[in-house]
Amino acid sequence: MSDERLAELCEKLAREELSPAEEEELAAALASDTAARATVPEQVFVHRTLGQLRPRSAYDPGRVMAALPRGSRAQMIMERVHRVPVARPRRWFYPVAAAAAVVMVVGAGKVILERGAHAPSVTAPPFAMVESASRASVVRRSRVLPAATGTPLQPGDGVETGVDGSATVQTQGDVTLALGAGTRLDLDEVVSGRRVLGVARGTLQVTAASQAPGAVLTFATPHARVTVVGTRILLSVLADRTRLEVSEGRALFESLVDGKTIEVGAGQQALAVQPPATAASTSAPALTASPDASTRTVILSFDFEDGAMPTNFSMGQVAEGPAREGSRYAMMGSLVHSVTTARTQAWGVSLKAPTLFHVSGKQVLSFDYWLDPASAYMSITYWNHDRSQNYGFFIWKPVHGSWGHAEIRLADFKGALHKDRPPQDGDRITSLSIFGGVLGGKPLFVDNIKLAE
């Protein structure tokens, strides 16, 4: 879709002036185009809030004070407040409310199922914790909540079980998810019309009825993607491998290690194993001292030597980089569309995924880079879903005009919005970006990107 058309649709959406045909056009763009999904909310947000910059007299709190109930009504309210101190929680209230919420969620799921294909295709699925042992918790944004039986869950929540814990989650489509000990499950939102749930570690038993036509349920692990059709499966995720066992039905197993996809039937297994890390190949000085790379587990690794564009990259393109021995291809940055940052951070390389990896203080990000001599510095950021903010690191004295190498501990990244809110081990990371170069200068090249622990 052209900028002009997108601009028109964004303005009309912000004013609620879209015709039904335009709504269909915009919905299709949002469902299929990642860039539109980022741009449209931004445009709507700025368009609407710009109206608040209009010169006006300051808001007068007296308006509210004058509108508050007075006299006998105020007394009645106060009497009600004092008689029924809702501010002080009553023991029965929350269990009953939670149970009611579960009933509503299950009921809503049933109604949606009965409606079948007529239900909106991308409505976020409801989740409910139907059983939980004592050592289980829900991670909601930056808070860790106890995971009691009956706790209503939301898309975006993480469910964690301890070393001897377990939990069972029920979701729309008659899908039961049984978490074993030491498991982390992320209840993601719908991505491109399909439900994607992340399994960072541990074991997950999935029992799913046949999915409605068009409904796709996918589990993403650090090493594989498993798409369920209607089946009973067991997923086991260790630091370096993911194993799929299918008891009934069938599932698609896509290995992120070798890029192959296979169909796994009842009684069959599939395995994706990350090969052991290789030592970093660089003669350039490291920016930060780090443990011997050969002893680490590799979480992400890209050398681009097959010349193909890997999935998950949302910025950059594979191209022949500045000459050096033993490497032909690298990731060339894309121009950053930003009038404010383009002067100093004009080129960017970015990876995005619903679950790119789970952060840990022991992880080290390494990469080679080639930077225009006119560049002052480089920046690296990642988006931490659980803390709802970016974390960044600046390379203030990079190598210019020749290949350099960086090794940075993720523990050294700082929060962009809340510096006092450090990342917690296990937080879900959904994007990782590297920026550098100047507008009008030579592009940034990045190669041998590796995240290891």
Binding site: D3, Y59, V64, A87, S388, L417
Partner: protein, 187 residues
């Protein structure tokens, strides 16, 4: 705000005037969320009144030690959605596609409007000043002087589509500026 619990306790105890402190402290965050969710800026001030009156009536339900900002934003979201439903009743909508658009857009807009306690309106004003003079003038005429697109395009001697794209890029530049300041979350 450190003393929310003490203020709430005072108000519930009958010191009605202390409620003004909560209104003054949380009006900017309520304003921003309402503005971001509503198509018509002219109703924002009236809805702010409604949100805070509702909050006053429900103050007994606020849990001690809770996040008052999140609580009052929840009330604001409820009022905004009611207003949108009222607005939508007068229009022909394709419910299925509308649900899909809302699914993709609303949470992202709320995230942009709600991740910081900083005065985003003031930050946005500063970002507006950083646009080129020509672009800033376009934005001011369009948004503050209510000059409609066709009239503004004619006045500026450009096509409507070129004006639309210029405003599109100006809004993108303002958002980039807010991101650079750390006033809104990153992509």
């Amino acid at each position: 705000m450190q003393q929310v619990d003490a203020i709430v306790e005072d108000v519930l105890g009958g010191n009605r005037e202390r409620y003004r402190e909560l209104v003054e402290a949380y009006e900017p965050t309520v304003r921003l969320l309402l503005a971001a969710l509503l198509p018509n800026p002219s109703v924002v001030d009236d809805l702010i009144d409604e949100v805070f009156v509702t909050a006053y009536l429900k103050l007994g339900e606020f849990r001690k030690g809770g996040d008052f900002r999140a609580w009052v934003r929840g009330l604001a979201r409820h009022h905004a959605m009611n207003e949108r439903r009222r607005f939508a009743r007068h229009r022909a909508l394709n419910e299925k596609y509308r649900a899909e658009i809302d699914h993709w857009v609303d949470p992202a807009v709320e995230r942009l409007a709600g991740e910081t306690e900083r005065n985003l309106v003031a930050e946005m004003q500063d970002c507006l000043q950083r646009l080129t003079a020509k672009t800033r003038r376009l934005v001011e005429q369009y948004y503050f002087e209510d000059i409609a697109g066709p009239a503004l395009a004619a006045r500026e001697g450009r096509s409507e589509s070129s004006l639309r794209v210029a405003l599109f890029r100006a809004r993108a530049a303002i958002l980039d500026c807010l991101r650079l300041k750390g006033a809104v979350p990153g992509e």
